[in-house]
């Protein structure tokens, strides 16, 4: 049954040219890095800044948003989730399968391109590149949990997810120090800082707190999604 759900979810994610967007995002990141590596002399100077501000802050949340909402919100939106819900499948099987698939997509199209980008920009510093890859995956898992929960709770999942990742993570996270402590990006940055030892990577949060918060957000998000799916009300389309 899990395999069937996974296959159908993959079809909604990548069928009908929809997957194109998921591929474009990492391709833009890599193309920009290749372009800069070819034209600018010392890319190593700004490699961590670029990975952080473009990769971790923009590309990764978007890949996560499209993967996570694409895996479940589209199905709720067009109502086809009732066919899944009317079968004797545990709700957590549905959520965990879809979330796991989204995480797999983030790994392939978010974390791996991030590592590659790091290697392209600074071939000598493999450790930082790998650290960014791992950080991206960890952040991706937390984002998946958050966006899956939003998908089940609201019909406007994508817009609310965008409001969160644009206004909260980028704008508030930049100007309001308190908001930084509550940002997935900063938590994963704490992990990257620990793993890489790169001088320019600095997180506003300490590593133990960051890890606890990451785990808590993931657990709460997925639990919330599962409980809400148990009593899902299919809203009539506006």
């Amino acid at each position: 049954m899990v395999a069937t759900i996974a296959r159908l979810t993959l079809a909604t994610l990548f069928g009908h040219r929809r997957g194109l967007l998921l591929f474009i995002l990492p391709v833009v990141l890599l193309a920009l890095c290749v372009l800069l590596a070819l034209t600018v002399d010392d890319t190593a100077d700004f490699s961590t800044a670029l990975l952080q501000q473009f990769g971790l802050a923009v590309i990764l949340p978007l890949v996560a948003l499209i993967a996570a909402t694409g895996a479940i919100a589209t199905e709720i939106d067009d109502g086809s989730i009732v066919y899944l819900l009317s079968k004797p499948i545990k709700r957590y099987t549905i959520i965990l399968t879809k979330a796991g698939l989204a995480i797999g997509v983030i790994f392939a199209l978010g974390a791996i391109p991030m590592t590659l980008a790091g290697i392209i920009l600074d071939p000598s510093d493999l450790r930082t590149a790998l650290a960014f890859g791992i950080g991206a995956l960890v952040a991706g898992i937390a984002y998946t949990a958050i966006f899956t929960a939003i998908s089940v709770i609201s019909a406007n999942a994508v817009t609310i997810g965008l409001l969160y990742s644009l206004l909260w993570e980028s704008v508030m996270g930049q100007y309001v120090d308190g908001a930084k402590a509550l940002s997935v990006q900063q938590w994963s940055l704490a992990l990257i800082q620990k793993l890489s030892d790169a001088p320019h990577v600095e997180s506003a949060v300490k590593l133990p707190i960051a890890m606890i918060l990451l785990l808590a957000v993931t657990a709460v998000g997925l639990t919330l999604a599962i409980t809400r799916l148990r009593s899902l009300v299919l809203s009539t389309s506006e």
Binding site: R18, L21, F46, G70, T74, D77, D78, L166, S237
Partner: protein
């Protein structure tokens, strides 16, 4: 029955001999209803939440700025209208992403597009009406805070001519931005019947292009004053930077933190802008041609 531009089917109950409004009137009605729908007017309360919230996010900072500048009496306004637009561009992008699919994707998804295309307005009329409504909706979103800023600046007794000039420059910038964004957003939204996907696609295109452009600029522009040609052409990639540069060049509106394109660069920017808008409008139209064929 002299002028058969309108279609009213006589199915035998009651005859109609009154005036018939033509294609233009239908297009106009479609435009007005689309504009109302862009703010959730005439639709469910739920669909009003997002546009009204985003409009509030646009207007409230302007009102606060006005309050501060009237209270503290600065020598010059703390923020110019044009800069205000680019300060709040994430909100404009979010509005486009959340509302463009409301105008375009819903008709495709519920197949009501078929009913429209069966009526006298051509599919080009339909596409243009929707695009115009989207441009108008964004003009409202951007211009209300500009009017608030302008009124506040006049209340604070700044130089009337200078303020008016900046206000007009702001309006022109808003129009350039609205047209380009509506064309891009309309194309993406018309391409897919899935609303959620269209929202994500629009925002991805806008944010990724903007961040890619600014990052490249920051890296290529070594002196930090936008004197490098490569850095200037990098702004071609992002709709926001493109219209900002175009607006500066067009109105000779040199401000702090902006840069004046040379004549050649200005022409290139204009050409890219026109081509982009034309390509997107053509794309929307071609998409509906495909829909009409079934």
């Amino acid at each position: 029955m002299s002028d058969r531009t309108g279609v009213i089917h006589d199915i035998g109950y009651r005859h109609y001999d009154g005036p018939r409004l033509g294609r233009w009137a239908i297009t106009q009605a479609l435009m007005v209803s689309s504009l109302r729908h862009a703010y959730g007017i005439g639709r469910s309360g739920k669909s009003k939440v997002m546009p009204i919230f985003l409009l509030a996010v646009m207007v409230v900072p302007a009102a606060i700025v006005v309050g501060i500048e009237n209270g503290l009496q600065f020598d010059k306004p703390p923020v110019e209208p044009v800069d205000y637009i680019y300060l709040l561009q994430p909100v404009i992008a979010l509005y486009l992403a959340s509302q463009a699919p409301q105008l375009f994707s819903r008709d495709l998804r519920y197949r009501s597009i078929v009913l429209y295309l069966a009526r006298p307005p051509r599919r080009t009329d339909y596409a243009l009406a929707k695009l115009t409504a989207l441009v108008a909706a964004q003009m409202i979103l951007i211009c209300i805070p500009l009017v608030v800023l302008y009124a506040g600046a006049l209340l604070a007794k700044y130089n009337f001519l200078q303020m008016s000039r900046q206000f007009v420059a702001g309006l022109a910038g808003a129009l350039l931005l609205s047209i380009l964004l509506a064309a891009i957003g309309g194309l993406i939204a018309a391409a897919t019947p899935r609303r959620g996907f269209a929202v994500a696609a629009i925002i991805a295109v806008l944010i990724v292009s903007f961040t890619a452009a600014t990052t490249t600029m920051a890296i290529v522009d070594e002196k930090g004053d936008m004197s490098s040609t490569a850095a200037r052409y990098a702004s071609l990639v992002s709709p926001f930077n493109l219209t900002e540069a175009l607006q500066t060049w067009f109105l000779r509106n040199d401000r702090d933190g902006s840069w004046m394109p040379t004549t050649q660069q200005g022409l290139v920017f204009t050409a890219v802008y026109v081509l982009l808008v034309a390509a997107c409008v053509w794309g929307v139209n071609a998409r509906y041609a495909k829909v009409a064929r079934g």
